[in-house]
Amino acid sequence: MNTSVTKVQPGMEAIEKLEDFIKVNRLKPHTRIPCEKDLCDLWGVSRSTLRQAVDELVENGILYRVLNKGVYVAEPRYPRDMAGVDAMVRDLIDQGNLVSKKILTMNVIEANKQIARKLQVKLGTKVYEIIKCRKINDVPCTIETTYIDAERYPGFIDHYNENALMEPIFEENYDTYQTSGTEHINVTYATQAEAEVLGIESGEPLFYASGVALDQNGEVVMFYKQLIRSDKFIFVATVES
C-alpha cells in the first residue's frame, strides 16, 4: 500500500489547533477561550467544525462549558504515578498541594477467600482492614482500602493514624521495605455511598487500582484497592527501554 499526502480532516485539524492554542498560550485553568466566531475567523474553519472540536475536548476533560458564558480551560488532573500510592502522595505534596486523609473505618476482620489469597495467609486469619478517604486541597479524591496481616504486623493500627504514612511504620517497626509489586488498573462506577464520600454523582466513572506490595524478601506486605476520581486524576508512567 502506498501512502499519499492527504489534507488533515477539518474536524481533526480544529481539535489539534485548539489543543495547541491552549498549550502554546499557556492558558491557565478557568481561563475563557475566545468565542467561537473569533476562533473560526482565526483558523478559517466553519462554526459546526469548531463546535465539534470544542465538544470533543469537553468530553475529554480538557475544556468545560458554562451555560451562556463560554468555554473555559479545565483544571489539569493530578498525576497518579503508576509507581504506587505513596509516590503519589509525596509528589502531590512536592507540588504544593495540601494532602490530608480521613480514616473511615479501621477494624480487625477475618480474611475471606479473596483477602487470604492476596495476602497469602490462611482463610480466617486476622487482618487489619483500613478504609480511608484522601483529600487534596480539601476536595475528597480517593477512597482506599488496605488489608494487612495482623499476625505478621501486630499492633500496626496502634501506630497508624490520620497523620501517619504507612511506609515509615513498616520500615521503622517491622523492618519491612516495600520494594516491588503489581498493580491492576481498571474502571468502576461510584455507588451511592461512595459518591457521597467523594462528593460526586453516583454512577460516575472511577479508576479502580488494586494491587499487592511485596517486601525485600518477596513476601506480601499489603493488599490494597484504591478508588480514584477520574475527573481529578490521570495515571502516568515512564517506561525506560
Binding site: 499526502v5 489547533k17 498525576p79 493500627i157 462506577y189
Partner: protein, 240 residues
Amino acid sequence: MAKTDYKMPIYLQLREIIRNKIDDGEYMPGTAIPSENKLAETFGINRITIRNAVDALVNEGLLRRVQGRGVFVVGKKNELSIEEHAGFVGDAIRSDSRVSIKELQKSEREAGNKYANLFGLELEDEIYYIRQMHSLNGVETSIEEFFMPKKILPSLDSINSSVFTFRDILSFYGIKLEKMTQTLRIIKGSAKVRKLLNVPEGVAIFLLECDFYNEKNEVIAHSISNIRSDMQSFSVSLHK
C-alpha cells in the same frame, strides 16, 4: 488508638462482595448470578442498592444483562501490561491470537500546529498518520492513532503496520527507543468514537496517550488510543 467504631455497612460493599464471588469462582463465567430479589433477600438490602451495584459491574464489563433472562458473569477482562503497550502494535498484542488489527488509514499529512510543536518540525513538514481498529475476539475494542515525522522513517509507507511492532520497525532502521511516557485517563469520549466502538451507554473510555523518545530525548512518535473500558484493563509492575 485511632480505631473508629464505624463499621462499614454491607450496602457499601455489595459491589465488592459480588466482585469477590466472581474472582473466587463462586459465580462462574457463563452462569447467572442470583436475581435481584434473591440478592435483596440474602443481604437484607433494598433493590435499588442491588441494582446500583449490579449496574456498576455491568458497565465494568464483568456482568452482562440479558433481557428477560437475568444477569450473567462474563469472565475475566483482557488485561494489557502497560509496559508492553508500544505504539500501533505492542508485542503482547501481536502474539495474542484473539486480537485482530485492521488498518483504517495510512497517509502522509502536514504536521500542523500540534505536531509541529511536539516533534520540533515546520508546520508543512510531513508526518505519517496511521489509524487502526483493534478487535478482541471479533469485538471492536480500540481505535489506535499513530503519528510520526516522515524524516525519522522515510519508508514507513511500505511497511505493514498491522504485522510489525513499532519496536521492530525502529530496530530495522537502527533507531533506539530510549523511553516512552504514558498517560491514561478516563473519558466519556466523542460521539463519533463511541459509535465506531459501539460503546454501551454508561460505559467510559480509556484514553491512553504515549510519547516515544529517542536517546537525544526527542519525541519521535505519538500515539492516541481510545479503548473500551469494559473490554480492557491494565497491569503495571512496580520496582523500586
